[in-house]
């Protein structure tokens, strides 16, 4: 894997992104050590500016610690981003693989279904799903996964379509290999690179959707999140700018970092771009 790391490290932006992401991950992992209290608890004077009254990043209108909220929110964002993406990639790979490999009416049915999902604006669809299912962390993950999988399905279908007629796949047919083994053992490993790239970028989108939902008050009411913090502080933007600003920066940095890493992965894994330098 040294070759892969070498290619990845050649892209400085990607390394920077990975660094930021590592910091966010560290904050999320150590949130309960530095801020053992519930981030919803009232920790002191309300509306304290950053640095005053023992609040590193200030407090909001109810006296909740903004820094504690960001640390605990990082956990929420990363968790939802990762789990939703994994679910979406699994659905997308299965749908795309079946459609691309078998073609014919299976392809017709699966792809028309995919298109149906794609015609609905994804954020509005996510709002609708969460509103129907009652806001909770599970319903948010389901909603994000449901709006994200069609892109994966289309990508995987294209890869399977081009790989299924390659001679090495036909050679597997001639020794009587089963379809499932051909799909999982022969074709899938050859299209992992684009799946990893699109997956990494989807984590960023998932975090944005989650923040958007929480901002609109559709987040899980028992879990602190960046979107919720911004939503709670937006009425105070002029008198207490810090309540919205710091969670906003956290979202910006995390999404940017993931996008940089995704780009870096794309450069390192996509052989057609490798020559470009």
């Amino acid at each position: 894997m040294t070759g892969f790391w070498g290619r990845f490290a050649r892209n400085r932006q990607a390394v920077l992104g990975l660094g930021i992401l590592a910091v966010v991950g560290l904050i999320a992992a150590t949130a309960h050590l530095f801020f053992p209290e519930d981030p919803f608890s009232l920790a002191g004077r309300s509306m304290s500016p950053p640095g005053a009254n023992g609040f590193l990043l200030g407090s909001d209108s109810l006296g909740r610690d903004v820094a504690a909220g960001i640390a605990h929110g990082a956990k929420t964002s990363l968790l939802i981003g990762l789990v939703a993406t994994i679910v979406a990639v699994c659905i997308g790979v299965i749908m795309g693989a079946l459609a691309g490999y078998y073609g014919g009416w299976i392809d017709d049915v699966l792809m028309r279904t995919t298109e149906m999902f794609q015609t609905i604006p994804s954020f509005i669809f996510a709002i609708l799903l969460v509103a129907i299912m009652k806001p909770s962390i599970e319903s948010i993950i389901i909603a994000i996964a449901v709006v994200s999988w069609p892109a994966v399905a289309r990508l995987v279908r294209g890869e399977f379509l081009s790989l299924r007629n390659r001679e090495f796949v036909q050679a597997c047919h001639t020794v009587g290999m089963s379809d499932v083994r051909i799909m999982l053992g022969e074709i899938l490993p050859n299209c992992l690179s684009p799946i990893i790239v699109i997956g990494s970028l989807m984590v960023a989108t998932a975090i944005l959707i989650e923040s958007g939902l929480a901002f609109l008050g559709l987040g899980d009411p028992n879990i602190m999140s960046w979107g919720f913090q911004i939503g709670a502080g937006r009425t105070l933007l002029r008198s207490a700018w810090w309540v919205c600003t710091f969670p906003g920066i956290a979202i910006l940095l995390t999404v940017l970092a993931i996008n940089l890493v995704g780009e870096g992965l794309n450069d390192a894994l996509n052989p057609r771009l490798r020559e470009r330098s």
Partner: protein, 548 residues
Amino acid sequence: MTQSQNPLLDICNLHVALPAGSQREFAVQDASIRLHKNEILCVVGESGSGKSLTARAVMGLLPKPHVRVAKGQILFGGDDLAKVSDVRMREIRGSEISMIFQEPMTALNPVMTIGRQIDEVFRFHRAMVARDRREKAIQLLDDVQLPDPRRIMDAHPHELSGGQRQRAMIAMALALDPRILIADEPTTALDVTTQAQILKLIKDLQSSHNTGVLFITHDFGVVADIADKVVVMQGGQVVETGTADEILNRPQHSYTRALIDAVPSLSPRAPRARSDEVVLKVDHLDKVYGGGRAFFGLGREARKVHAVNDVSFELRRGETLGIVGESGSGKSTVARCIVRLIDAESGTILLENTDLRPLGRAALRPWRAKIQMVFQDPFASLNPRRKVGTIIAQGMRLMGRPAEEAESRTRELLDIVGLDERAFDRFPHEFSGGQRQRIGIARALALDPEVLVADEPVSALDVSIQAQILHLLDEIRERMTLSMVFITHDLRVAAQVCDRLAVMRHGKVVEAGSTGEIFANPRHEYTRELLGAVPGKHWDPRQAALSA
């Protein structure tokens, strides 16, 4: 063609440097080539010999800045093309030196009509009014013998056949009556009958325009047909230069001799005794592509193509049956129907008195081992993510053989196909094309098949490697008494490998018989046409090898 005359193009000690970290420092090293007026100079070599880069260096088309001219001169008129400014180079390109490429489909712009593309050449280089330009373009298309030039003017590239596209390319290249035409493998992508026509066209136009032609090719047959002078390249260096007669019939350098020796002869080899035991019998096989409808059967009906039309043949034990034909003749479809990669509509495929055609996947499984296939493209036929040992052993494991047995058999097979045992733990990308083809053959042999179907197994390989693989297939056939169905477009290869031939055209077998009979006395008109179009048919490489 007097030698005292100044050369049109004088390439002196040309070095083309490759980026740091490549296999070798120079792609072209110390190459000196002289092209005179009114001569066709063929640059011959195998892949990686630097022949194409030499041509590109002349046109200033090297993929800069990674690949560049490091040393040497390319003298043309008063200019050194290695140092000339971009502005001057653009003037020269197209008007004084022009180039035609291997694949006319990618060299032509797919969204522009042929007429507009020719028109552009005039607009960039000459001040002419639109009507004159159009008249001139039609005249050009007529010169390259395209039928109905007025219609072709308004056609897009995809509406023309491969040969017509190449003619259009030639028309564009000759539009401004250049002094030099560079042709980079211009007929490699074409069928043999079309190739013969294009070669004749190039030769005719060259002599009527007194052009100097720098012709890049890997095919000694083509050289024998058109070359006045020949330059042989190996690994970036010029190893031998001479007239066509000298190089073809009295080669001096050992590499040239080896190359010519590897060219299969057109005279069929001695017939062998034919066994009485029929291994595979194919009767009235039919396959139609298309005819389905997209979108749940509601879409437009796809165009129907009768790819295999009533094909019958039988294959006896130990025999090699060649199926020859041009692209689109259905020969590969027949191969894929026999190994059941494609389901034929009707007919029978009898192997040991069992009809394989109607069998379902489960019922077919025990029979799979008996018919195995060797594929054309050594780069696409091996899974890049699996080790060679796994690729070869896969079939045996699927058939339920224990792992140790499969492994020891795999090592044995690697030895049989002439590969080192260490190949077992390597990935396919660590091997060359010829070695990969050996791996593909080992995989096909792993299940001890009765019948081996080889679909153009050597057409993606260089001629010296091709000879080795053909030799290997021969050896294996003797050793394992295999019966082989050998698909090829190359009649030279067919003459050396096949005991019997079936000539296919438009999905039908037009003629079948023993190889010697068909070569000596072709009955069908199409067979005669095919045989007549083989490049270099009047030149026998064996003769050259003997005299050397």
